[in-house]
């Protein structure tokens, strides 16, 4: 097997590309969608389910795992892979996004960000060094640097100042984790808000730090789709072509297509798992709201050719019943289906890119997931 960090590009189609990234826990084909396993579990699923549905890499949340059960406990238990019995690759975020979106009182200084836990209000500091220490304790295959996720609507002055801080934090993260130490990759995160020149500046500064991959952060934070795509199409080509490129927190099918068209290799989002629990199911024909009355006596499977357990075993009428009755099994079956859809969707996209027909695939899928679709 190749050394961790090896990234080999395969056939591309326009700016869209296929590739293969090696981690300490195996290779992943790109473009790839990573299901989110916030607290050491992809909600409602077991690790063997994840393998069955075709998930090849999952994301763990540093913020959540640090607070509960604690990264030191996870380290004592042999790391996150062993703790949750998932032997495939794991990417961990830096916790920065959750600090800004979930925690209470927070204060940003040069040193890092102090925040209070959303669980018990206790005070904590995330510094670049602390975040790297946590991600090393977790045993993450792909670690993300600490960054400040600039809120949507931030002005240029704020964004520029924040960008400087994010770069200094990235520098400290790189210093705290030598390239490929313990086989763990470290990715930088390009910020710069919705200012193209700041994005370019951020990218340049991070490239100087020689990360094993590069992410676009601070998107999907409340902006319009047009605004997101404007930055996406402009900033992605600024990321090194020979390293994996990761669009953080993006997962609507239409946005995955845009990301792939721009040359993005990795995505993550709570959309398929969270929507599953809200009864919104993804199919190649578009979204299905399973609680609708029209499915009450619908004896057909959700998606006839879907290989997931829910589609092979149950009718829409049964899935609707479970959802309406708020049965625990509803969350599980819906999550199995949605993540199976995302696996198949990405596999078909990779195939389309390899065969030089990505735009046709994109057009067909955009019809199922129209612009008005969140």
């Amino acid at each position: 097997m190749n050394l961790p960090g090896t990234f080999t590009l395969g056939p591309g189609d326009g700016s869209a590309r296929t590739g293969r990234l090696t981690t300490a826990h195996g290779e992943i084909e790109t473009p790839v969608f990573m299901p989110v396993g916030t607290q050491g579990t992809v909600k409602s699923l077991c690790p063997d389910d994840l393998r069955t549905i075709g998930a090849r890499i999952i994301l763990g949340n540093t913020y959540h795992l640090y607070l509960r059960p604690g990264d030191e406990l996870v380290a004592k238990m042999g790391g996150l892979h062993r703790f949750m019995a998932w032997d495939g690759p794991i990417l961990t975020d830096s916790g920065g996004f959750q600090v800004f979106s979930l925690s209470g009182l927070r204060r940003i200084t040069e040193e890092g960000v102090t925040f209070s836990s959303h669980i018990d209000g206790s005070k904590h500091l995330f510094s670049p060094e602390k975040v790297i220490s946590i991600e090393r304790n977790l045993g993450s295959d792909i670690m993300m640097v600490l960054d400040e996720c600039v809120p949507y609507g931030a002005d240029r002055a704020y964004t520029e100042k924040s960008l400087g801080l994010t770069t200094r934090w990235a520098t400290r993260c790189r210093a705290a984790h030598a390239p490929l130490d313990r086989g763990q990759l470290l990715f930088g995160i390009v910020q710069g808000g919705f200012f193209k020149d700041l994005r370019a500046e951020s990218a340049r500064q991070l490239i100087d730090l020689a990360f094993e991959g590069y992410a676009l952060g601070g998107l999907s934070v409340g902006e319009s789709r047009a605004e997101m795509y404007d930055i996406l199409y402009d900033a992605t080509p600024l990321l090194p072509a020979d390293k994996p490129r990761y669009l953080m927190g993006v997962g609507a099918p239409r946005d995955l297509l845009a990301g792939m068209a721009a040359g993005i290799d990795m995505f993550d989002c709570v959309l398929p798992t969270r929507n599953a629990r809200n009864g919104t199911l993804f199919t190649f024909q578009g979204k299905v709201n399973i609680k609708r009355a029209e499915y009450r006596e619908d004896d057909s499977p959700l998606e006839a050719d879907c290989p997931c357990y829910a589609c092979r075993t149950f009718s829409k009428a049964y899935l609707r019943h479970l959802y309406v009755a708020r049965e625990l099994l509803s969350y599980r079956l819906n999550t199995l289906h949605n993540l199976t859809f995302f696996s198949r969707f990405m596999a078909q996209a990779r195939q389309a890119i390899r065969e030089g027909r990505f735009e046709a695939f994109r057009t067909a899928m955009e019809a199922a997931y129209p612009e008005t679709d969140a």
Copy 2:
């Protein structure tokens, strides 16, 4: 295969007995514990999980399924087996217990019991004929007659009057469902509260109606363990020896042992599934409260020789983390374990009965589940 309703006794030990009951969906070895699948699902599990953990028959709740999704819808979908994709035997209760424990305003008349739905307050009537119609729509393998479950503390006059009504309702149920029509068995339910002579009278009256099996109802309703056992040991021998005997709503390990010692063949209870969701786990060494701090860094499996997925795959530290974090996977793993324990417990009890060492098994297990244990 034998005709549905065939009940063959195997080796016994004192009053404890083993046997084999044939239903339209297969044979079950007795004594058997039936997991409860209230709303067309054993909470958090798929039907393939049920097979894996050794469940051979499950219980469905007539009250719940009638209200949601509705027995007529279930019939249109091909019956409960097909709707929930479970091809093993299903026993359905009569709904009477839930009417008395869950629903709002209710009124008992000779005709039946009127009640308001706990979901939307709508008014409904359960008559003996209606309940049989619902259970036939569900496609139940073993149907229970409508009875009045007398509340704990009811005086002799009330209990005697209720007993007469229960017998008349049982007579109407029998009239509405000829023996083995469609292969569906019909069981009578002995009431009589905590008056032994009334229990005997109830048993005599029901035996005259020639049911395919007989249940003891109205126990585990708030009485002491001594009071329950007093009725259990006195009334069980009054039930026909050549028919299956079912102790309704009883499931604590100590009580299963008492029931088997008395000659009971079938049990059901929400205990293993509900306790799983409350973090109480059953093992051959006794109950484990998984949220206790002592398990925080416990890297060992819950029960070393347990074949369930949770024990084969995860540590107590991980199970505790999932429970404390209120993760959906916690409910699933805990339920898989508890039902696996109940399957193994009953299999070991059957083996002990066959080998003439049931009392030794009972004594050993009572040490793990002491008198003070609820």
